[in-house]
Symmetry: C2
Subunit: 353 residues, 2 copies
Amino acid sequence: MADDSQIRIGVLSCTNIVRKVSRAINLAPNATVAAIASISNSIEEMKSFAASNNFPPTAKIHGSYESLLEDPDVDAVYFPIPASLHVEWAVRAAQKGKHILLDKPVALSVYEFDQIVEACEANGIQFMDGTQWIHNPRTAKIKEFLTDPASFGQLKTVQSCFSFAANENFLKKDIRVKPGLDGLGALGDAGWYTIQASLLANSFRLPKTVTALPGHVLNDAGIVLSCGALLDWEEGVTATIYCSFLANVTMEITAIGTKRTLRVHDFVIPFQETEASFTTSTTDCLSEHKTMNEIPQEACMVIEFARLVGEIKNRGAKPDGFWLSFSRKTQVIVDAVKESLHNNLERVLVSGR
Amino acid sequence: MADDSQIRIGVLSCTNIVRKVSRAINLAPNATVAAIASISNSIEEMKSFAASNNFPPTAKIHGSYESLLEDPDVDAVYFPIPASLHVEWAVRAAQKGKHILLDKPVALSVYEFDQIVEACEANGIQFMDGTQWIHNPRTAKIKEFLTDPASFGQLKTVQSCFSFAANENFLKKDIRVKPGLDGLGALGDAGWYTIQASLLANSFRLPKTVTALPGHVLNDAGIVLSCGALLDWEEGVTATIYCSFLANVTMEITAIGTKRTLRVHDFVIPFQETEASFTTSTTDCLSEHKTMNEIPQEACMVIEFARLVGEIKNRGAKPDGFWLSFSRKTQVIVDAVKESLHNNLERVLVSGR
């Protein structure tokens, strides 16, 4: 039986990301895997998946998503399903009172995501997108540094990139290159991280405008395999993002302030699981900053998510709206890049969206 | 007396950059400082400058640029004068048979620079622009790595930036922020380096198009204090450049290929004078590459320049046209960024220019 104080999380599908996140749930003292449902695996396959991934023996096996959402012993659901299915299942989960940990991209458009927002707000649901690096203790240190005028000064530009060279099989068959599934391609996947890095460096404020850059690559179905964009805020503060399925793995943030420069070379997935670093520099001096995390960043994410759900469940707190807002802003920028790509790289006004 | 095999270089003005370059000429075994001319210093001041910078006692003091250009004991001239004066004096030097080491930006436009090109070609003049990092042995190693398909793969994107936070005095009075002098601002200064880094990573081929990015900053006189641009080649190969007088010193190249990523954190001026490094990485492996140079990179530049002049002077060789062509391509891109900035950030076709 789950410890009463633990948040009981149901997971959907038997995929690799569920292996990783269920391990994280196991590592989080305030959460437990309570159930699994898959629409493409048999009950036997799910049982075997549960056993090989150390699910608690109490974890239930559901033959359908509906059945899992009806389960009174599930507090929250982790959704690693194609983005095209997010609206339907996240809205249904919210209506059943289940809290939501939703993989990025959170939807195929802000229009869709706003239906999730509405359902969460109407039902008092805690929402969080499944971006893990945001929860690494290093990220808090980076944010602290970037918002410290005394040492960093004022931000002038932040350049981030996340690329990996996908193999032929991925480029043919992965859901991230299929119009009917995660139809936002590299932009909704790798690009999501770079957009959040840009927002984080700008204290989570939306830019004024977004402009897609020349040189993007689409596949035959029109899905983005590689693209870049420029975001700009007032007074010449800019961010450039680059995301690609076609270039060697690179996970870079370079943020330049008036007084110092910050560099991270592994922002999405740190080179080491329980230790991470970044550097800061002036003309004369380069400093390395290290942070330790006893548990991997995905477990930090689960702990924070379960903590917020626990506050609601056990103390009658309200959901923390930051995470809905952060995901929505990210989706606004994803949409704007896509709009710019479709409109001859036109500059897209974003303020107020 | 100068060693007969040494190329005799005349320098113009008594500025800090002349201190640095005359030191480099002294360090270069195949060159010597043969003369100085300044239009804003007295003969006495020049004598004192010559002595305190260890010019050979044979170095002549000229009261005017004309007089230095007439000097039969001068083979070549180093021009650290405002860009607005380049056409006039470089053309006159070429007509007098003097080889030319010209500071960047080489001119205020390609239209102007083509007059220098014509004068050099008509008079068999060796030309080189005074960009020093290109001559660091590290740069040759970087180029070798970036053009090795077996280890780097194909280039996908190169992102470079050169910024420094200029002080108030610079921002008010430096020739680089004055329309009548080096009227190209940060673009012609810091931007020059990033454009050359982009060209180097692309085997010195001009991009198809150039697009200035939103978020640029101009001073009251319309001079660029900070800007970015996107260059693109065929098949989704891109470069982004960022140059600024308003942000902490940063001298970065990140080049991402299909197989590896290259990073340089000090490409313009290495942290150490006689040693430099860069890193390359794959998913699993980060390697540091070090190069040693016995003499600083500016002396490497002088040695190469003097070697080429020596080939012409002593062996009847023809000038090496690479350097004229490289400077011209850089100037083409500078012009295109400026054109884009003036035309609402329009994309500018560059091929064939």
